[in-house]
């Protein structure tokens, strides 16, 4: 197990390095620089001062090695768009809000989606099935920002049941979590339905039924546990995607998370923030994949992560 983990970690380090290198050079290849977002054309000496301060006057190769060296020392640099903000500090400080929202959304989506998918599979070609597949289609196709605006209007403007924007307690997380969860829910409902149908058709289910099993405990113990594997595969990327944030949702609900950083930093050519977000995203994504692999082994004893000697 230990050697397996070490191997995986080594792979992760190499992958991270490749991702960083590609992003670094791609980022500098797009036209414009952090100053081009300003509305004014600056005098040459002002630009020179700026480039010198942030080391942008050095050759690209030199900048790359400086960046890697700093990264190895745990320094992600200072944001170019927001002077004085340390990229690492900024990510660590605001990631929890994003992560909380994301985990709530994935939890709702995964649990509710799986249950609905299971129900649809058991009532195949009857009204619950049509309802769930119809709703899933809607959930995938309605963009989250449309739903967000609608929820905001109904629950915060027409009726002041919930706060429309901001961050402060559980009440603030309800609307954005729901807005974020629908697409997740829809995906899991469909995947669960398909794999549960597959499981229901298996011989051992027939055997179990013939022996008189049935009801809810049967559905969960025999069907759900076997059918959940494809959903778990999906869970990794879903978690990674959603806890690194949603640009639109965070903007609409004015949530102090990091989701908006990814998109805006590219627009602003905020080089250090782009790199910091890339590193963060890559690490979270790979960690999620690793967790999924471990979860496989727990759920399905037939899967082994390593060859026992």
């Amino acid at each position: 197990m230990l050697s397996y983990m070490l191997k995986r970690l080594a792979y992760m380090a190499v992958t991270l390095w490749v991702v960083i290198t590609i992003t670094f050079f791609l980022m500098h290849a797009i036209p414009g620089d952090p100053l081009s977002g300003l509305a004014r054309e600056l005098p040459a000496h002002t630009k020179a001062n700026y480039y010198a301060k942030y080391g942008l006057d050095k050759s690209l190769g030199e900048q790359y090695f400086i960046y890697i060296n700093n990264l190895l020392h745990g320094d992600l640099g200072e944001s170019l768009k927001y002077p004085g903000r340390d990229v690492k500090g900024e990510i660590l400080k605001y990631a929890p809000a994003t992560a909380r929202l994301g985990l709530q959304a994935v939890s709702i989506g995964f649990l509710l989606g799986s249950i609905l998918g299971l129900a649809a599979a058991f009532k195949r070609n009857r009204w619950p099935d049509y309802l769930v597949t119809g709703a899933a289609l809607l959930g995938v196709s309605v963009p989250s920002f449309v739903l967000a605006a609608l929820l905001q209007y109904i629950f915060a403007v027409r009726n002041s049941w919930l706060p429309a924007t901001g961050w402060g307690g559980f009440a603030f997380t309800i609307l954005p979590s729901i807005a974020l969860s629908t697409s997740v829910l829809a995906i899991f409902a469909r995947v669960m339905r398909a794999s549960a149908l597959d499981v229901i058709g298996q011989d051992y289910i027939m055997t179990a039924r013939a022996k008189g099993s049935g009801g809810l405990s049967f559905a969960f113990k025999h069907v759900a546990r076997n059918a959940v594997l494809p959903s778990v595969t999906l869970l990794g990327p879903q978690i990674a995607g959603i806890i690194t944030g949603s640009f639109v949702i965070e903007n609409i609900f004015a949530i102090p998370g990091i989701g908006s950083n990814f998109v805006t930093s590219v627009f602003n050519r905020d080089y250090t923030m782009i790199m910091g977000m890339t590193v963060f995203y890559a690490v979270v994504y790979m960690a999620a994949l690793l967790l999924v692999d471990i979860a496989y082994a727990v759920i399905d004893p037939r899967i082994r992560l390593y060859e026992p000697k």
């Binding site: 036209p31 414009g32 054309e41 010198a52 927001y82 949530i255």
Partner: protein
């Protein structure tokens, strides 16, 4: 019916504006709990006065730091400069030496605000190590530009503290608008001990920067909200009635409008006709309407073969139906521009537009009765044949996004119809737009310009031959001479003459640019908000005297 509705709405908004200005002088009783929530459209970059670049930073800095002066409004809603960090000032007869007498004011931690703090602040802005992108604002000061560019020495810069309470500026040449710079964020003091302690993080978090203005920064949750509290150490604390101000940072327009509508925020700006109508319909708001110091214009690349011709430039400018342009693209948020310098901008204490009394674009339209004929004449002179249909003009636009696409396509269709030529649209990634037009790789481009300070110089000096924003590379000797002459004198009557002539050369005689629209301001405040000042410059959302009555 529709017209009458519009008239009714107009009358209503006039009434509430009048009511508002009336309220300003009323004796303040106010609610027991004094707080205000204000919508802010974007996250301020930093509250470090030296390194901030955006207007949102300026709005907050003006409330928490005390510049030498403060931009306030008189009872007619006009910007006036009031003593703030300085209680008085005098200028020498040659206009080169400005002496500011500072008042007794304290920092939020109890220390005295000294003249040295102001000197330190401005010298830090100029220091090449700080890499401030706003050093240009200090250029009127002797030796400032040289020091900022690394050529001059710090001791040669004309910013000195004569004693703890006296600040002396020496200028390069007389500067008629110098006082209009002194309420800008660069003229706030900074504490050396804090800057040294926090280094680059100075101003990036609430606790890294001390205050000496009406409010102190209580907390700052990035991209969410900034909370200010009344500064008990402030010299004029008696005038400050609000005990708490919360800026809600709402970058999404829909969310921002929702929060204005449901009352979570008390003051906010409406950006479209739909929302304006909706807010007015509730009867809960006073509307503050006016102008932003912003002009949208079309810039012609005069180094391009086609647009080197004055006739073609004039034809294109005259072909624009500006009323239809704003009606279609910016219904009730902009007005047609028949001049370059926007309304409400002042020369001395007088509004420039009123003083100038001219609208050069109207003269141009009268002069050019048939734009298509003039256009044809222009292309003939360039040896491009006599058929406009064989000519293709190119509009360069950022994006495309929904708005820039709409504008570009409107212009495309309009020019094709009015001039009979073909028009292409070329879209450029917004981040590289600056480079594209900066290197002259365009024919015509639509751009907005917002003035930095309350003097026509902020508008006109960009079109001089060496102006950094003169993307059309237009050059005119007489224009340059006039701008130089206007910089060298303090006689406002003479300066008015120079600027007026400049405007005529720029958009009538030479048609180097075509003004399109002026941006209007529509801020909505809840009826219980009193004493709020929506200034043209300075903070632009001045809360020092604001309070609520009947919340």
């Amino acid at each position: 019916m529709r017209k009458r509705m519009l008239a009714a709405v107009l009358a209503l908004s006039l009434l509430s504006t009048a009511a508002l200005t009336g309220c300003r002088t009323k004796a303040a009783e106010g609610d027991k709990e004094q707080y205000l929530n204000v919508a802010m459209n974007a996250e301020p970059g930093t509250l470090d006065p030296s390194r901030a670049t955006d207007t949102y930073s300026s709005i907050v800095i003006a409330e928490v730091e005390e510049a030498l002066t403060r931009c306030e409004q008189d009872d007619k809603g006009k910007d006036v400069i009031q003593p703030a960090g300085a209680e008085s000032w005098k200028v020498s007869d040659d206009g080169l030496t400005w002496t500011f007498k500072l008042r007794d004011n304290k920092w939020s931690d109890g220390q005295d605000v000294k003249a040295e703090d102001y000197v330190y602040s401005m010298m830090r802005t100029l220091d090449p190590e700080t890499a401030s992108s706003y050093t240009g604002m200090l250029n009127p000061i002797k030796g400032a530009e040289a020091y900022a560019s690394g050529e001059g020495k710090a001791e040669d810069v004309g910013i000195k503290a004569a004693d703890d309470k006296t600040l002396v500026f020496t200028l390069e040449s007389p500067c008629a608008y110098f006082l209009n710079l002194t309420y800008f964020r660069l003229f706030t003091p900074q504490r050396q001990d804090y800057v040294e302690k926090y280094g680059d993080t100075f101003g990036s978090e609430a606790d890294t920067i001390p205050s000496c203005g009406p409010f102190v920064i209580k907390s700052w949750t990035h991209k969410s909200e900034i909370v200010l509290e009344k500064n008990q150490n402030y010299w004029d604390a008696d005038s400050v009635k609000l005990s708490k101000v919360t800026y809600k940072i709402l970058e999404d327009e829909q969310a921002r409008m929702n929060e204005i509508l449901n009352g979570t925020v008390d003051i906010g700006t409406a950006e479209s006709k739909e929302w304006k109508d909706k807010f007015s319909g509730t009867g809960d708001f006073d509307v503050i309407s006016g102008y932003e110091p912003t002009t949208e214009c079309m810039i012609f690349n005069t180094k391009d073969k086609m647009f080197s011709s004055v006739k073609i430039r004039k034809a294109v400018s005259a072909a624009i139906d500006r009323e239809d342009y704003v009606e279609t693209l910016y219904p009730s948020t902009r007005t047609a521009a028949y001049s370059f310098c926007p309304p409400t901008l002042q020369i001395g204490t007088e509004e420039f537009r009123t003083a100038a009394g001219s609208e050069p674009v109207r003269q141009l339209i009268e002069e050019v009765t048939d734009p298509k004929a003039l256009f044809t004449e222009g292309i003939k002179e360039l040896g491009l044949g006599s058929d406009p249909a064989k000519i293709t003009l190119t509009i360069t636009a950022a994006g495309p996004n929904a708005k820039t696409k709409q504008i570009a396509e409107y212009n495309q269709q309009m020019f094709q119809e009015a001039l009979g030529c073909k028009v292409d649209i070329e879209y450029v990634d917004p981040a590289s737009m600056g480079k594209t037009i900066g290197t002259g790789d365009f024919q015509m481009v639509t751009a907005g310009w917002t003035g930095d300070y309350n003097d026509p110089m902020t508008e006109f000096d960009i079109w001089t031959s060496h102006g950094g924003l003169n993307f059309g590379r237009w050059s005119n000797e007489k224009y340059d001479q006039n701008i130089e002459a206007a910089s060298a004198t303090q006689d406002q009557a003479k300066r008015l003459g120079y600027f007026k002539e400049c405007e005529e050369i720029l958009i009538l005689k030479e048609a180097a640019i075509a003004p399109l629209s002026f941006k209007q301001r529509s801020q909505y405040e809840r009826k219980y908000v009193e004493g709020y000042m929506s200034t043209l410059f300075g903070s632009s959302m001045e809360l020092k005297y604001a309070y609520t009555l009947g919340r």
